[in-house]
Symmetry: C2
Subunit: 157 residues, 2 copies
């Protein structure tokens, strides 16, 4: 798989990933460092909360999703660089032992108005558990270099 | 500080946090686990990328922001539970040694239509570095319990 430029992306393209298991101990460690609330730290304390049991921090799910995206075939030249997100939801909690994977779809491809050497692709990434239930949906705008300007640079340089 | 219910939040309320320093080694460790791309892993490799040097993964910034939010005076009863975000941007990279803090503002307070025991507050959280430059802006919807229904439960129980 070679890296892709803006010109290599088309609306409707889809990308998948392998699976990554979320262990109970990693949920608690992530929670202790970044999201120290009872439902991310301890099974007993989590029982009487809105989650009804231990659940991964949404930011842990987001971080694991990023890992899966980096390992997927999306592979923009210059790396996966997010300018931000238009939509971001956690429809269902991630539980200890869940195995996550992603499905990404390109929704939009557009050159930048201010930067002729780059463009933006809008990508919806759905993170699914082992029962194919969505646990996170993010629609992100990624900065991607353009191939044509790359060639211009080589000529003018 | 006692925990707050939906009735305790008003539009325009603001909440601040302490500061948290982002170390170079933690940036690299987070990158290696969740966002293994050159600009999050190694100073030399990062130099020739869009970031022009080592930068924290946006998900690391998001996770640290959550930590600061949990430690702030926002303190919803039942914890900080995000249903999702309407806006999410990283206007500027986080560099090794940056000291981050947050400023949050309540934009909207509304009871849930389907769940009489809870509501949603919309909160904009800006993460700032030591030069007061915004490194992340998120407008999130948080699920918050209502006090009135809590009292009903105690009466009927």
């Amino acid at each position: 798989m070679t890296a892709r430029y803006l010109e290599d992306y088309t609306v409707g393209q889809r990308f998948c990933s392998g699976r990554l298991r979320i262990d109970k101990e990693r949920i608690k460690m992530f929670g202790a460092e970044f999201d120290p609330q009872p439902f991310h730290l301890d099974e007993d304390a989590a029982r009487d909360t809105i989650f009804g049991g231990l659940a991964a921090s949404g930011w842990h799910t987001a971080a694991v999703t990023m890992r899966l995206l980096v390992e997927s075939d999306l592979k923009p030249a210059g790396g996966i660089v997010g300018a931000g997100a238009d939509e971001f939801r956690w429809p269902r909690p991630v539980r200890p032992g869940d195995e996550l994977r992603i499905e990404s779809e390109v929704l939009e491809v557009r050159p930048s108005r201010s930067r002729p050497d780059q463009g933006v692709i809008k990508v919806r990434t759905t993170t699914l558990n082992q029962n194919d239930e969505a646990v996170q949906i993010i629609v992100a705008n990624l900065v991607v270099p353009r191939r044509s300007t790359q060639d211009d640079k080589e000529i003018s340089g």
